[in-house]
């Protein structure tokens, strides 16, 4: 195969595989959410949908849901703004998908003498791109709320815009520390920087060098994704269903997919920035090298598998953490959310930058 053709093929294949992975995970996550919620609440959860009598613990429910959404009446309320009402779900889903582009799924691999990055685009602006696209999600929510022409969606949309803007600030600031430590905003370099050891014992993961930054980022992520305990825009008890009250059928399912894509992408970002991405603890290119000089040789193919596997495992864990937290912590009141955002998160992230800078200054002197 010639050069350009090969590059195009690789690019298309990467996009296809990573998209398939993310969307597959979205489907699984809807099942995990329902089933996990059920078991946490001493229930059984979905277990009825079956194919030829095989129920498989309700695994076919996402399929049934998808079919249902596809075949339901595509309804537009009389008072809705016809164009914006239909655009809103797209505005919501598109930024969520775009986030996948900069996630490194594994180390560079060499196929047929060429080096291939397991990453759709290794942008030099890296994480800033992520901020840019994820900042767009608020448009989808606000547009949906306004275009529905109904009071509850409007309230939900307004709430989410205020909430998302507030936490966008802390989210950005909480990552400054990471950039300072790893001296790059490029995702691949941040991951590569986490391959070393801290004090010769701990993997040099973001969570160990930036514990406060990790907590702040995680909280901000939850608020950005409108997940419990920050799911005020939906607030069933006071806002019916928030900004997507007037949505049904496939348009509603687009909002749902956007939410779960946010979870998946968010999990991947946390894993990449704070948990070493595809790095496996103590695993070098040639094999394990444990503290104390104990080494085990591992064939390169297995190393690659272990690294990709470690990344997938981390993503799965953080995706699960979204669900786990949702069914553990009750929803905040709106004023509490705002207070936490502006009076706790923001000063703390500023403090984190200051402290990081101070330590780096002292260490590098």
């Amino acid at each position: 195969m010639t050069g350009p053709l090969f590059d195009i093929a690789v690019t298309v294949a990467r996009i296809a595989v990573f998209f398939a992975f993310c969307f597959g995970l979205v489907v699984v996550m809807t099942w995990v959410e329902r089933k996990g919620a059920a078991y946490i609440q001493d229930r059984r959860g979905p277990n009825r949908a079956d194919i030829f009598g095989i129920r498989a613990w309700g695994l076919f429910h996402p399929l049934a849901d998808a079919l249902k959404f596809l075949f339901k009446e595509d309804f537009i309320p009389d008072n809705a703004h016809r164009l914006f009402y239909q655009m809103a779900p797209m505005f919501s889903l598109a930024p969520a998908i775009l986030g996948i582009a900069i996630i490194p799924f594994g180390p560079d691999v060499t196929v047929m003498g060429r080096t291939i990055a397991l990453q759709i685009a290794d942008l030099n602006v890296g994480i800033l791109y992520l901020f840019a696209v994820s900042g767009m999600t608020v448009y989808g929510v606000v547009l949906a709320g306004w275009a529905s022409g109904s009071k509850y969606p409007l309230l939900g949309g307004l709430r989410s815009s205020a909430q998302m803007l507030s936490y966008e600030v802390s989210m950005g600031l909480s990552l400054i520390g990471i950039f300072m430590v790893f001296e790059s905003v490029r995702m691949s370099q941040i991951v590569a920087g986490q391959g070393g050891l801290l004090f010769g014992v701990l993997p040099k993961w973001g969570v160990f060098v930036q514990p406060l930054g990790f907590i702040l980022f995680l909280v901000a992520q939850y608020a950005e994704a409108n997940r419990t305990p920050f799911d005020l825009p939906e607030g069933e008890s006071e806002l019916v269903a928030g900004y997507h009250t007037e949505y049904a059928s496939f348009k509603f399912s687009m909002f749902m997919m956007a939410e779960y894509l946010h979870m998946v992408v968010g999990a991947a970002v946390v894993a990449t920035l704070f948990f070493g991405g595809w790095q496996f603890p103590y695993l070098g290119d040639a094999g394990f090298l444990f503290p104390g000089g104990f080494a085990v040789a591992v064939p390169p193919a297995l190393v690659l598998l272990l690294r990709i596997g470690s990344f997938v495992a981390k993503v799965l864990f953080f995706a699960w953490l979204y669900v786990w937290v949702r069914w553990t912590i009750p929803r905040f009141r709106y004023d509490q959310v705002m207070r936490l955002g502006w009076k706790v998160m923001l000063p703390l992230s500023l403090l984190n930058i200051f402290a990081t800078g101070l330590i780096l200054l002292l260490l590098n002197r």
Binding site: G36, D42, R44, V325, I329
Partner: protein, 161 residues
């Protein structure tokens, strides 16, 4: 006279580690994970009753949907005396009496309809019946249906149960 005032204990002030929430959240996560794991391991401990296959055992005196009793030869035991429809506070029983084909019985219900949408399940009809012809001991609720007509139980439906 003032009505009784109950002193409610105010929540105590949170200590500093508590006010950070972090440890408390981890504790909460531990509780939910405990439930999750124990429910996955011990499925039989889940209280959910899987409805159509498994039914909650009803107490013996539960008043469910009605049934009409049969004689030994299969004819309705009801003699269309109208006692149930007279006693019914919801006026949901419609009876039309007729001359029975069995001369020993004389009178029998040509029509016996219970409008289950109107029925309030008070059991007055059962109490009023002099022939023990109507009972509410089926032990189950009126099943849902998609038209009003289907929920007006006719004599044939009532005899089946």
């Amino acid at each position: 006279m003032t009505i009784g005032v109950i002193k409610v204990a105010r929540p105590r002030e949170m200590s500093f580690p508590e006010s950070l929430y972090l440890l408390e959240i981890v504790k909460g996560l531990g509780v939910t994970m405990g439930h999750l794991l124990s429910n996955i391991v011990r499925q039989e401990g889940i209280k959910t009753i899987e409805y159509p296959e498994v039914r909650r055992p009803m107490p013996p005196r539960f008043r469910g949907k009605h049934r009409l009793m049969k004689r030994e030869n299969g004819a309705p035991r009801c003699v269309a005396c109208y006692c149930c429809s007279t006693a019914c506070p919801a006026k949901c029983i419609t009876i039309v009496a007729g001359e029975s084909p069995d001369p020993a019985v004389e009178k029998y219900p040509v029509r016996f309809d219970i409008d289950m949408l109107r029925c309030v399940f008070c059991g007055m009809c059962v109490e009023a019946c002099p022939c023990d012809a109507i009972r509410m001991d089926t032990g189950w609720f009126t099943p849902p249906d998609d038209t009003r007509e289907k929920l007006i139980f006719t004599i044939d439906t009532l005899l089946e149960k």
